[in-house]
């Protein structure tokens, strides 16, 4: 099952796995557990503890999708989104957050997020979000 989906706009991921998903979250347990799940889902995963780390990592170009924590010390998730936009990067972003506020969803959608997941989220929900994010771009660039 993990291997049976079609992806659009493939970028080459490492280890001839699927597309590269970069995870940016300051929470250790997320950084520990999420990449394994992502790999089980058939993708490649890289993990960063802060937005700054990601920006200076050189992984931007390889990243097919960004799984981004909203609230972080230093540069927040939305701020990273802005930064990438200003760099002309159009990486789809799935925001994750512990704050269960539906209002955020609308906001994020407005900002051009590809998806939003409330922690804790199930593996199925994650998969759905990733699939949605990796679909060919339906959202106008913003």
């Amino acid at each position: 099952m993990p291997h049976s989906f079609v992806m659009g706009c493939p970028k080459s991921g490492s280890r001839n796995r699927g597309p590269l998903l970069s995870v940016v979250d300051d929470d250790q347990s997320v950084r520990e557990s999420l990449p394994d799940l992502i790999r089980e889902l058939g993708f490649a995963a890289r993990v960063f503890s802060s937005a700054e780390d990601f920006l200076s990592s050189g992984s931007i170009d390889e990243t097919s999708c960004l799984i981004l924590d909203i609230a972080m010390p230093g540069m927040s998730g939305p701020e990273l989104q802005q930064e990438l936009k200003s760099r002309g990067q159009k990486i789809p972003i799935i925001f994750i957050t512990g704050q269960k506020d539906e209002a955020i969803r609308a906001l994020m959608h407005k900002q051009g997020a590809a998806g939003l997941l409330f922690k804790p989220f199930s593996d199925a929900d994650l998969l759905t979000a990733i699939k949605t994010a990796l679909r060919p771009l339906e959202v106008p660039p913003g």
Binding site: V30, S33, P73, G74
Partner: protein, 709 residues
């Protein structure tokens, strides 16, 4: 004999004193040739003041003439002094001899020539010896009253002319005696009068002294109203002059104000019926129209007379003192009313209780109702009755000063709080008496209780609010490990469902799951530890540890707001005495405020610095420094006030409660502006007295902390 007798007569008439008159007469006659003896006797009732009669008291004798003057020339009785009055014939019976006969008959007797053997001769041997031959005797009569007898014994035959001369001298002597007697009577009367006058003038003088001493005003007036006299004191009282009185300008009625006239009438009536009017108070008009209060009393001079004398005492000073006393009483009463304080005195021995009006009001008894301990007990709150009895007992035993608090239960079941202070004194008889002041402190107590209640309610609300924020933090804190658990479990499933199953991977996810679950459990444990404390539990605690806990709990919340938390917690920070929950409340409040202050800051990092350190004066200081918008100098005073806030959704109670908590810890909470942007809120509280054992307690507690930030 005419010549010498004439000159004697002239001499005698010029003599004024009666004894000299008589003496001159007898001496003068006895010096005539041939005269042997001349004597003057007086009736016993005739008293004249003579020097010779000092030894004789003849008041009760009525039968004898007494000898008052004598002169003679003894020829045959040498050594005899015939002027001696105290001899044998100093008292001559009235009915004896010719002398007696003269007195009895009131008629002169002239015996030209007699023989000693004649029967009437009283002392024939004397007459013979002294060759007495002739006797002339004349009564002394003045205004038909017989005063005495003059007798002349001669050695030659007396002639008619000599007899007539004798009569002349007898008259003269009588006149002299009568005059002397009259003078004496007058003198006596005068003496009597003088004595009476003396007496009278003594009393009079004394009374005059009183009048002139001007210690009281004295005034004399007639019942019609004319003022007939007054002393200076009275004049001064009414400020009239003596001239005013003299002219009769001033009438009694003029001096009296209209409202006192009726009282005056009553006094006049009393005066007329009893002769006196007893003292009463009234007022006079002074000459200038001002009034003077006086005490007036007086009496009529004569029983049914018209003239009255009265004393008048100026009562101005008394009245002033009375007014001052009334005023001070009014002040006291008003003061008691304002201060809700009543006073009482209690004479222990007699049980006599006296209350001020305000105390009646406090107890809600009718003013003036008789007071007993039993009556008072009916108002004392049942729960405080034992206390009250104890107080009464103390008082009976003569305890000195004491104060006590007790409650009253009123008729409408409302409660009053009273605060009483009592002092033991001795009254004028040396008896034990308590003077006490009792204040109704219900209002204060009620407001204190309300304040305490409000404060605890506010604290509760603050806690609840913090709790809301805390809950959010906690939810987030637990959410993290929970997400991990869900993710790892999901991964585990997929790994085991793979072909071939990734057992190692699954094991790893399982391990992580357990770890995350433990993490969540720890959060809950910490939570419990945080909120399991009782309301006010003071203990010695490590402020660093408490701070770390608060930071840990609120970290996620802070970070959500992009706040970077730095902690510089001093090593070996001394322990403080305090309530852990409350102090953590304060720290949480400060952190939240700092974060809020930076919520609009975009151009610089939202840095929050928490620092703990030793402070001077054996204190520990915690400060929270932010890089936010700071506060204006105007706001500086207000930020600690309750309900002051610049936040649109804030309640503004955090800082006022926080300050209150810190002050309860004998500390201080204050805010300063930073050199750079933002402000620093700090509090300092005293260190606890550290004991060695406490160090151990500290070690045990570090297990529950999540480590340094």
């Amino acid at each position: 004999m005419a010549g010498p007798l004439l000159s004697l007569a002239v001499t005698v008439t010029s003599e004024q004193h009666v004894e000299f008159v008589l003496r001159k007469i007898v001496d003068g006659l006895a010096s005539q040739p041939g005269v042997a003896l001349v004597r003057i006797w007086l009736l016993p009732s005739v008293h004249i003041p003579t020097a010779w009669q000092e030894g004789a008291h003849y008041q009760n004798e009525i039968e004898h003439l007494r000898l008052v003057a004598s002169a003679g020339n003894p020829i045959r009785s040498p050594g005899e002094d015939w002027s001696f009055l105290q001899g044998r014939f100093s008292r001559f019976p009235l009915n004896i001899g010719k002398v007696g006969q003269v007195a009895a008959d009131r008629h002169p007797i002239f015996i030209k020539d007699f023989a000693p053997q004649d029967t009437w001769v009283v002392r024939p041997e004397w007459a013979e010896r002294e060759e007495i031959r002739s006797f002339a005797g004349h009564p002394l009569i003045f205004q038909e009253e017989l005063l005495g007898v003059i007798g002349l014994f001669s050695r030659r035959a007396l002639d008619e002319q000599e007899f007539t001369w004798l009569g002349l001298f007898a008259n003269h002597a009588a006149v002299a005696i009568a005059n002397a007697r009259a003078f004496e009577e007058v003198a006596e009367r005068q003496k009597g009068e003088a004595e009476v006058r003396e007496l009278a003038s003594g009393l009079e003088a004394k009374i005059r002294r009183l009048v002139e001493a001007n210690v009281v005003g004295i005034v004399m007036f007639s019942l019609e109203g004319a003022i007939t006299g007054a002393n200076d004191a009275f004049l001064q009282m009414v400020q009239y002059s003596r001239e005013d009185l003299a002219t009769g300008r001033v009438v009694w009625m003029d001096l009296t104000p209209a409202e006192w006239r009726a009282r005056d009438e009553r006094a006049i009536t009393e005066l007329q019926t009893t002769g006196v009017f007893r003292p009463f108070e009234k007022e006079y008009f002074r000459k200038d129209g001002s009034r003077v209060p006086v005490l007036l009393g007086g009496a009529l001079f004569e029983e049914s007379g018209n003239e009255c004398v009265a004393f008048s005492i100026d009562l101005s000073e008394q009245k002033q003192a009375e007014r001052a006393l009334r005023r001070s009483e009014a002040f006291l009463a008003e003061g008691q009313r304002l201060g809700q304080t009543g006073s009482y005195s209690w004479r222990v021995a007699t049980g006599e209780i006296t209350w001020s009006e305000q105390l009646y009001r406090i107890y809600e008894f009718e003013i003036g109702v008789p007071l007993t301990l039993d009556l008072i007990r009916t108002r004392v709150h049942p729960e405080d009755l034992t206390l009250y009895e104890k107080m009464v007992e103390q008082a009976r035993n003569g305890e000195n000063d004491f104060e006590w608090h007790y409650r009253l239960l009123m008729a409408d079941h409302s409660v009053k709080y009273l605060h009483a202070v009592a002092r033991a004194t001795r009254d004028q008889n040396g008896q034990l008496e308590y003077i006490a002041a009792i204040q109704d402190v219900t209002a204060r107590r009620v407001s204190e209780e309300a304040r305490d209640k409000a404060r605890s309610e506010l604290a509760h609300v603050a806690k609840v609010m913090s709790l809301g924020t805390l809950a959010a933090s906690i939810a987030h804190e637990i959410n993290q490990p929970l997400s991990g658990i869900v993710t790892n479990a999901g991964t585990c499933q997929r790994m085991l469902a793979a072909a071939p199953p990734n057992v190692d991977g699954a094991l790893e996810t399982a391990r992580r799951t357990i770890r995350d679950a433990n993490r969540a459990s720890e959060v809950i444990t910490r939570l419990r530890a945080l909120f399991s404390r009782k309301e006010t539990a003071t203990e010695s605690l490590d402020l660093n540890e408490a701070t770390r806990e608060v930071i840990a709990l609120s970290l996620s919340g802070l970070q959500r707001n992009q706040v970077v938390v730095q902690a510089e917690l001093a090593e070996h920070l001394p322990l403080v005495m305090g309530d852990r929950v409350q102090l953590q409340q304060v720290i949480l409040n400060l952190l939240r405020n700092a974060a809020d202050a930076m919520s609009t800051i975009d151009d610089r990092p939202r840095e929050l610095l928490v620092r703990t350190e030793r402070a001077e004066g054996n204190q520990v200081r915690l400060s929270v420094k932010d890089a936010g918008i700071g506060f204006t100098p105007e706001a500086a005073d207000k930020i600690f006030e309750a309900f002051y806030t610049t936040k649109t959704d804030g309640m503004g109670i955090g800082l006022s409660i926080s300050r209150s908590i810190i002050e309860t810890h004998q500390g201080r909470l204050w805010a300063t502006q930073n050199d750079g942007p933002g402000s620093t809120f700090s509090f300092a509280i005293p260190c606890a007295l550290e004991r060695v054992a406490d160090a151990e307690t500290r070690v045990n507690r570090t297990d529950t902390s999540t480590g340094a930030v």
